[in-house]
């Protein structure tokens, strides 16, 4: 038995699942109140009942998402976990591993070593998360944090950025869950942290 995921990573991962679910479902209800594009999210996927309920969820769960994310990042940076797992990363290795994955030939012998496609996806998800929080802050406080909103092309620019970061995170989650379904043992290791014969 060897450790694949340290305890702080597992705990923050599952809290993040809950926080992200609350943020996405309430966010879709808020989007539906004034759609940016020519579509709405199905009501069955939204949270809060109506706009006020969705806003209450969104502005409550944001604290969970941000605090949990900060604990994860602080742990990852100061323990060296992020550097060990995510680096080095090169575009060529990433492309090679994505192609391998598409042909079903990506090896998962040692789950504690991320392949280049994983590294890119996880780093991308972290960056998208940071983008979501920063654009969300700009939308929430476009006057007090005017410099942040200005960086994103003012309020309407922040609105677009918030939407596209959300779309990116949803894409990541879909691929991530599909990969877990394809390699089911990774699901248990994110709970127990350990892998038999790993």
């Amino acid at each position: 038995m060897r450790e694949v995921h340290p305890l702080p990573v597992r705990v923050t991962h599952w809290i993040n699942v809950l926080a992200l679910l609350l943020m996405l479902c309430s966010g879709w209800k808020i989007y539906n109140a004034a759609p940016l594009f020519d579509f709405k999210f199905p009501d069955a996927l939204t949270l809060g009942g109506w706009l006020a309920g969705a806003l209450q969820w969104h502005f409550a769960a944001m604290w969970l998402l941000v605090l949990n994310g900060m604990i994860y990042l602080a742990y990852g940076i100061f323990s060296g976990h992020l550097k060990r797992r995510m680096l080095p990363i090169s575009p060529r290795a990433m492309l090679g591993d994505v192609l391998k994955a598409l042909r079903g030939r990506l090896a998962h012998d040692d789950l504690s070593v991320y392949n280049a496609a994983q590294r890119a996806a996880y780093l991308g998800a972290i960056l998208l998360g940071i983008g979501l929080v920063l654009s969300g802050l700009a939308l929430w406080k476009p006057v007090q944090l005017y410099w942040l909103a200005a960086l994103m092309g003012d309020y309407e620019g922040a609105r677009l950025l918030h939407f596209f970061c959300m779309a990116g995170i949803v894409l990541f989650v879909l691929v991530h869950v599909a990969m877990v379904v394809l390699v089911p043992k990774t699901f248990l290791t994110m709970i127990t942290g350990k892998l038999k014969n790993g």
């Binding site: 479902c25 808020i30 989007y31 109140a33 004034a34 940016l36 009501d43 069955a44 996927l45 939204t46 949270l47 809060g48 009942g49 706009l51 006020a52 309920g53 806003l55 209450q56 969820w57 502005f59 409550a60 604290w63 406080k141 476009p142 006057v143 007090q144 005017y146 003012d154 309020y155 309407e156 609105r159 869950v177 379904v181 394809l182 089911p184």
Partner: protein, 251 residues
């Protein structure tokens, strides 16, 4: 022989298992999506969840009051950025807009003020005028840029001898809307008692005879058709706030 068979069948079996797992996973996913909404609504309606959400909203009021910088100005825009047509918004539809009669209109003043005399429109129009071209952000997410003119609300509060150490300023409107803001925002230099929109007398759909223009708060914190203003230490709430919108709703 057996071993040899195993070697060949192994990947096949694993593949089959994988497919079954995938299928099961997908149908479970679909099921949880279907019941997700019902679950979410039940969760939202639960009394202890309601309590928690309301407590978080009050906590967010405090955080926003702390973040609010009384000197930080909302961005202003050149005239060519004004949104045409400027959207109508209210708790009723545009054909139900209340038309206030200018001749017998009176603005009532009450609460923690020295001067409770009511104001007639000509007296209000005679007050010093400032203009702003700012962005109105709706709680729904959309935004629009418009030009409003009127008297600085801090100037008006001074003229009625308002106790500016009080916590809230409340508004009662001719269309049965009501609302309130914190004193710090009431005293902000861009908070206007607006009588004009786009250099014209405020039309009924934008709040004739006056609208409180607060570019540091969401649109629903900008009451229209104001008929009474009062200064108080008791939390006055508001039409939308009492139904669940965040009270501070600052930008």
């Amino acid at each position: 022989m057996d071993d040899k068979l195993k070697v060949h069948a192994g990947p096949l079996l694993a593949n089959l298992e994988r497919r079954l797992f995938l299928k099961r996973g997908l149908s479970l996913g679909a099921l949880s999506l279907l019941s997700g909404c019902e679950l979410g609504d039940k969760l939202t309606d639960d009394e202890s969840v309601q309590k928690l959400l309301r407590a978080m909203s009050r906590w967010n009021d405090g955080v926003q009051a702390w973040l609010f910088d009384p000197r930080r100005l909302a961005p202003e825009f050149p005239a060519n950025r004004i949104t045409h047509p400027f959207p109508f918004n209210g708790y009723y539809s545009e054909d139900e807009v209340r038309v206030v009669d200018a001749t017998d209109y009176k603005l009532e003043i009450s609460g923690r003020v020295k001067e409770t005399k009511a104001w007639r429109l000509p007296e209000l129009y005679a007050l010093p005028e400032t203009s702003q071209i700012t962005r109105l952000i709706c709680v729904e997410g959309w935004s629009a840029i418009g030009k409003w003119s009127g008297v600085r609300f801090s100037e008006f509060l001074e003229r009625i001898g308002a106790d500016t150490t009080a916590r809230y300023v409340g508004f009662k409107c001719a269309d049965d809307y009501y609302g309130s803001i914190d004193m710090a925002t009431a005293l902000h230099p861009q908070t206007l008692l607006a009588f004009k929109f786009g250099d014209q007398v405020l039309p009924p759909k934008y709040g004739f005879p006056m609208k409180l223009r607060v570019p540091t708060k969401l649109g629903f914190k900008n009451p229209k058709h104001i008929a009474a203003i009062y200064v108080t230490n008791e939390h006055p709430g508001g039409y939308w706030e009492d139904q669940g919108y965040n009270w501070f709703s600052g930008s």
